[in-house]
């Protein structure tokens, strides 16, 4: 998965993977859409039943293989549809962000946010903010290092 950019990073469009939990964040994303809120198109959303479904290896794989950022969205703590899932997400997220920063990956590239089903505006704002933060950081990997994974990727 390659982001298109020239050597100066001009015209760089980050590719960001978003995991959104079915009950809260994904519904919030829907609400943002229905409300016609404008958002940059860089985020690719993958729906999961609970944010706790996101294993750290998903995030690490995404970043190692060249994606520019990963965002995990879940219900507010206390409001998880499965009662406790997001408490685990919270712990994992804390640990993972610190580890990634330790190996030199900017903390903005992996973020966790709580977005409820009624927070369409928050979803839009989060997408906008994260996209701009990562755009300013530039590509995660130099293009020459990223292995192609989709047809037409080179």
């Amino acid at each position: 998965m390659v982001s298109s950019s020239d050597s100066l990073g001009n015209g760089f469009e980050p590719k960001i993977l978003v995991f959104a939990c079915n009950w809260c964040s994904y519904a919030g994303a829907d609400l943002a859409g229905v409300s016609r809120l404008q958002m940059p198109p860089n985020c690719r959303v993958v729906r999961v039943m609970c944010s706790a479904r996101v294993r750290p290896e998903f995030v690490i794989t995404a970043l190692s293989k060249g994606l520019d950022g990963v965002l995990v969205l879940g219900c507010h703590p206390g409001d998880c549809h499965y009662s406790e899932g997001n408490y685990f997400t919270r712990r994992r997220g804390l640990l993972l962000r610190k580890l990634l920063e330790y190996v030199g990956i900017e903390p903005e590239r992996f973020q966790v946010r709580w977005v409820s089903a009624s927070e369409g505006a928050k979803f839009a704002e989060t997408v906008e903010r994260v996209t701009e933060q990562i755009r300013a950081l530039g590509p995660n990997r130099p293009r020459s290092e990223v292995l192609p994974t989709e047809p037409g990727d080179k």
């Binding site: 290896e57 690490i60 919270r90 712990r91 640990l95 920063e101 190996v103 030199g104 973020q111 709580w114």
Partner: protein, 319 residues
């Protein structure tokens, strides 16, 4: 101590209390103690104990699951942390193990000893504990080397969980302390202090060296999965060739999988054939787990591992 050990093991074997005993014995190279599996009384005299027994043998107890009976094992304090975690993680039952505790007063790091002596390690024929130093014999000469010059890094941080319920102890098991100028997480803090691009360059260089021999995984007590994620073919997480992206994934994923389980035994770094400073990576995970979740692996039998647990008031910077 060595004689007492042999006596105890002889008794265990004679009584049929264990199918075999896992300890250390001298390898054909005098400076190296290696794992030893003794199943017959005639082999007991091979067993040794001394400052060259730094290796963590705990992973071998998992073989007891395939046996009808029990296995015996010689455990230093630090090694018991692995046993505690294996029990907590439901990988072995306590009653499958006959644990022999031994008072350890620090173990020698071969590389540091070479540096301190200025000779190749294989010329060392004997090392003995002598209080604040080690008596090291090279050829005809024996000299005393101060402990702080040659101890394994982990010995400076000895926590010795002596609450571990051994079956037998060879003498009183006392904690080992040494004055160390280095902070607990010194190596980690050194890296944390660097600017982020330098850290990235540092780790990139290390991961590029990796040849993915998987020795760190096999040596780690906590990597006991029957099918490791990295061996799965459908879907395939890691491509086989040791490319930078794959190596990064390997090490980072292994690090998070060990969160709350790494006991700082140092086996991963010891076995790495290309000298990647894995200790600096895993100490970071240990530091974060200790700071964020107030947990240290293997210290207590009745605490819940942090990654399968939560507190309602856990830190939450994600609002």
């Amino acid at each position: 101590m060595q004689d007492k050990l042999q006596e105890v093991v002889r008794k265990l074997l004679a009584e049929g209390a264990v199918e075999y005993f896992i300890g250390y014995c001298q390898s054909s190279q005098p400076h190296r103690a290696v794992p030893c599996f003794v199943s017959d009384e005639s082999e007991v005299e091979k067993l040794v104990w001394g400052p060259l027994c730094g290796q963590n043998l705990s992973k071998y107890v998992l073989r007891a699951n395939e046996l009808e009976g029990k296995v015996g094992i010689l455990l230093k304090g630090c090694d018991t942390r692995a046993i505690v975690e294996l029990i907590k993680q439901h990988q072995i039952e306590r009653d499958k193990i006959v644990a022999i505790g031994v008072p350890c007063q620090g173990q020698v790091d071969g590389r540091k000893l070479e540096k301190a002596l200025g000779v190749s390690l294989e010329q060392v024929t004997n090392v003995e504990d002598a209080g604040d130093g080690f008596l090291v014999t090279v050829g005809e000469e024996t000299k005393k080397v101060p402990k702080e010059e040659v101890l394994l890094d982990k010995c400076f941080r000895c926590k010795h969980p002596y609450a571990f319920p051994y079956d037998v102890t060879l003498g009183e098991v006392v904690p080992f302390t040494i004055e160390a100028d280095v902070g607990e997480y010194a190596a980690v803090e050194e890296l944390e202090a660097l600017p982020i691009e330098e850290r990235r360059a540092f780790w990139r260089k290390q991961f590029e060296r990796c040849i993915r021999c998987n020795a760190c995984r096999e040596a780690c007590y906590a990597c006991y999965c029957k099918e490791c994620l990295f061996d799965r073919k459908m879907p395939r997480w890691l491509a086989a060739p040791p490319l930078l992206s794959e190596n990064e994934m390997y090490h980072l994923i292994r690090a998070v999988h060990l969160a709350g389980r790494c006991i700082d035994c140092g086996e991963c770094q010891r076995v790495c054939p290309v000298n990647i400073p894995l200790g600096s990576l895993y100490r970071k995970i240990q530091k974060d787990v200790a700071e964020l979740f107030d947990y240290e692996a293997g210290m207590e039998m009745d605490t819940v591992p942090p990654l399968v647990n939560f507190e309602l008031d856990d830190q939450d910077p994600f609002l």
